[in-house]
Symmetry: C2
Subunit: 337 residues, 2 copies
């Protein structure tokens, strides 16, 4: 059958089978109270017409839909990792997944897009939602889990231990003998950016190394934002012997800048990042970084949401996942040591 023609509805099936729509509904939902002969008739009609129940109509009437929602702003490379984790966690769970995004990719977002998207889904379509954005003003009748929420949030959430992770990286650099360590911070509005910077500061303080404000510059987590500020650091007469960027994307950009300036990594400059995106393993030299497993974040968020929806969640309201230092070739002891 080709295109065209109105979609086949339950009453079409009912008419063909010579029964009421209620009976068709009972057959579809395998409810008690339909004789085997009429069941067979109805099934035959469904088969013949190629009927599929409408998700919309069903979800409007029913409270439970067995569909979970995921709301995102736009597609980044890490988004795919999160989604893989979410889908693996939902594998064979009986829950389907709907991802809702809007088309305003580059335009300015009207305030409160999270709430708007959430409301459109969680009204009746989904049994619960995952929100991938720093945000905590959740209003929803159904459970919501936030990945990487704003600082001090009290909504159910999953986040990486950015503070410890960043501390570990800085301690790794300090352990190698570095004392002048540049830091490229992330967008200051994000909790993750704050935690990573704080980890850097604490590690230095712990080692008795004073924090030089001149060595802290700010990007926005985007690779492109790192190039100019990295140059600022590296053009200094007393340039740092190591640079710790708050994201791998920015760290990879630092590698490019270093190459442009004729600096050898890790000979002249050690570079470390945060995230462990796939590309970081493939550069030459490989990038020392912190694995925060976006996959794991997605996986845990989905697991949590699933339990919240089923009402059998036992764990804590906020999950903080451990991070893992990944040492590769981009860091070494400073030459001047």
């Amino acid at each position: 059958m080709a295109e065209g023609g109105a979609p086949v509805t339950m009453s079409d099936v009912a008419r063909l089978a010579g029964v009421s729509t209620a009976t068709v509904s009972r057959v579809v939902n395998r409810r008690y109270g339909v004789s085997s002969s009429t069941t067979a008739q109805v099934r035959a009609a469904i088969q013949q017409l190629g009927y599929e129940s409408s998700l919309v109509a069903t979800s409007l009437r029913r409270s439970r839909t067995n569909v979970l929602g995921l709301v995102i702003h736009s597609f980044q490379s890490y988004t795919a990792e999160v989604l893989k984790g979410v889908m693996d966690a939902l594998s064979q769970s009986g829950f389907d997944l709907i991802i809702y995004t809007n088309s305003d990719l580059y335009g300015t977002y009207a305030e409160g897009w999270e709430q708007r998207h959430l409301a459109r889904l969680s009204g009746t379509l989904t049994d619960g939602c995952i929100v991938v954005t720093p945000w905590d003003e959740v209003r929803s009748g159904t459970p919501v889990v936030v990945i990487d929420p704003a600082k001090g949030s009290t909504v159910p959430s999953v986040t990486a231990d950015n503070l410890t992770g960043a501390t570990t990286v800085a301690e790794h650099l300090l352990g190698l003998g570095h004392r002048r360590i540049g830091f490229i911070a992330g967008r200051s509005s994000l909790a993750a950016a704050w935690a990573r910077e704080e980890g850097y500061r604490r590690a230095l303080a712990g080692a008795g190394v004073p924090v030089d404000p001149e060595l802290i510059v700010r990007g926005d987590f985007n690779p492109e934002s790192a190039a100019p500020v990295a140059r600022v650091l590296l053009d200094r007469a007393d340039r740092p012997t190591a640079i710790f960027a708050a994201s791998d994307g920015m760290a990879l950009k630092v590698l490019d800048v270093a190459k442009d300036l004729g600096l050898c990594v890790p000979g002249d400059l050690s570079v470390a990042g945060f995230d462990n995106i796939p590309e970081s393993a493939l550069t030459d030299p490989g990038l020392t970084t912190v694995d925060q497993s976006m996959y794991q974040l997605g996986y845990e968020a989905a697991r949590m949401l699933k339990s919240l929806v089923c009402g059998d969640w036992e764990g804590p309201g906020q999950i903080v996942l451990p991070t893992r230092l990944v040492i590769r070739g981009s860091t070494a002891a400073p030459k001047t040591l």
Copy 2:
């Protein structure tokens, strides 16, 4: 406001504002025929209650929803690229996007999942759908665009020029002087696999090189499937001087196998792939491949669907996008020449 409480509906707003739901609807949809004073009252009530219209209820009643759907089986790495293209094409178009996936990631798929997913969305939720799968038995009341459809399909579709792309790669290898070129085919049920193999055959035929069936082995596009069959090729006494794999994932696996066997690429063996996934640029040596721009596929599919929904599509029913040969370090003239 925290969680809990039934979601606020239109009648809640109507009650608070002292009007009927019809009036609220008119205000929400900016229709003519509401005095400015009542409009203000209604808006105030909406604000106070935090009302958001339900996507489900709206789409059930209305024919048009300004939401497009995308149906996929599971998340692969290329899926993210397709999605980026789709979202860029939809940027500021007024269309939102809903991606529907089910949870059966590893389990066996019941036959006809495409139709089932499509029916659940296109009943009323979406104005049209993109289906990312080789499939052509489309039945839908709303427009559907298929990315990478089955062979000889007549539904609106977007696909890469696999035939020409594969021919180009094979000709590149022939041009370097290779005569014994192994081919690792993809899953035979897919049209893309057929086209890529056909391109390989045609290039050889064009150069007057007889096709040796012993040099053609079959994977399934998955990286893991390539290792054993690559070994079969490379363990032969008269092993090929070059291997062309029908996907980058498989080609990268061939690089691993070659390394295990102590073969030098491209000194002892040239390797080429197809897809140009990001990883292919980062290996050492870089992988010669064909860029088919999944991004572009997604972009064009979305553009086409948008026009089909609006009824102003002028282009052809099937779009075939050109491919581009990307020459990197993994291919060179054979040593024995």
